[in-house]
């Protein structure tokens, strides 16, 4: 039971965060497949996946040679920057200050852009590069998320990989069955939850890297996440109260 309590946050966080990234990659790869053909789409996605695996194999080993406190601090800082950026964006989206991310609109935009490029040839560079780029960027984000979740405790690395792997299978299966972007997934809510979790993990690792003892040890993750959730809800309330922030006349 306690082992499950130890690994469950890593599995859930990796699953949710990776699902968001895989859905974004799937949208663009589908757009490439539909407009330029499945050959460049799958070749681009496959090449990026292979390069990622190679990079992880090379740099993953190097990461293990660094002092643990340095890894915890470095990864904690990056996870906090990543999580707090997502969380702020999710709050601004939920209060209408920035538009919600719409996979259907992103798909249409990509289809329109790719349809305007040169007509298909034997080797479609535009399609290949588009698929390669999106899988590379979203893939690196997933790799970073896995490292961020398992940085300070190697027993958390496998659960994080399992969570991300499950998300990959699910998104590929959904894309294979539906053949269109997964527009009904509440992506902003997912990003909100993931922002809270990554901020909590980032803060936890920063503390561990600095040698600060967290009251409650691993249980600290629960109150760190609760504090970020409370802060985000407070920010939402503040954004919805124009007088509290002095932009009464400017707010739409």
């Amino acid at each position: 039971m306690s082992a499950w309590f130890h690994v469950a946050p890593s599995i859930a966080s990796a699953f949710l965060a990776s699902a968001v990234e895989f859905i974004e990659a799937l949208t663009v790869v589908l757009a490439v497949g539909v407009t330029r053909g499945w050959r460049p789409a799958l070749l681009g996605a496959g090449a990026a996946a292979l390069l990622l695996i190679g990079l992880v194999a090379v740099f993953g080993r190097e990461l293990g040679l660094l002092p643990l406190a340095m890894v915890q601090l470095g990864v904690g800082i990056l996870a906090a920057l990543f999580g707090l950026r997502w969380l702020r964006k999710a709050v601004l989206r939920s209060t209408g200050f920035i538009a919600l991310h719409d996979e259907a609109a992103a798909y249409d935009k990509e289809v329109q852009r790719l349809s305007g490029e040169d007509a298909r040839r034997g080797c479609d560079i535009a399609g290949f590069v588009t698929a390669f780029k999106i899988v590379m960027i979203e893939g690196i984000e997933v790799v970073f998320i896995i490292i961020a979740l398992g940085a300070g405790d190697s027993s958390l690395l496998i659960p994080a990989i399992v969570g991300a792997g499950a998300a990959l299978m699910l998104v590929i299966a959904a894309g294979f069955v539906l053949h269109r972007p997964l527009a009904r997934i509440p992506e902003n809510s997912l990003k909100f939850v993931v922002g809270v979790l990554l901020s909590a993990f980032g803060t936890f690792w920063i503390g561990e890297g600095l040698g600060v003892p967290w009251p409650g040890s691993d249980l600290a993750l629960a109150y760190l996440a609760a504090a970020y959730l409370g802060g985000a809800l407070l920010a939402i309330a503040a954004c919805r109260t124009p007088s509290a922030s002095g932009w009464k006349e400017a707010r739409p």
């Binding site: 920057l81 702020r88 803060t203 600060v212 409370g230």
Partner: protein, 81 residues
């Protein structure tokens, strides 16, 4: 080559899309880092202060961004008229 630059730019944007917000977060972490190094055995209070600082950065950063977006929209609305 431009796509490689685009990948590198997007990789940086994973962590930083608003320099002021990122600097604020890094400044809080740096202050807490100095505080932790000042003691042979850092107090658990430093962790709580780190959390409070980062939550405050989230709230302040969000409100400032909302404010700047609202002002930009209002300005754009006035220009259209």
């Amino acid at each position: 080559m431009t796509w490689l630059v685009a990948i590198l730019r997007e990789l940086l944007a994973i962590f930083v899309d608003d320099l002021a917000y990122a600097i604020g977060i890094l400044a809080i972490i740096a202050v807490m880092g100095f505080a932790a190094h000042a003691f042979a055995r850092p107090s658990p209070l430093i962790g709580i202060e780190l959390l409070a600082g980062l939550v405050a950065a989230l709230i302040t950063g969000t409100m400032l961004k909302a404010r700047s977006i609202a002002h930009a929209r209002a300005r754009a609305g006035r220009d259209q008229k």
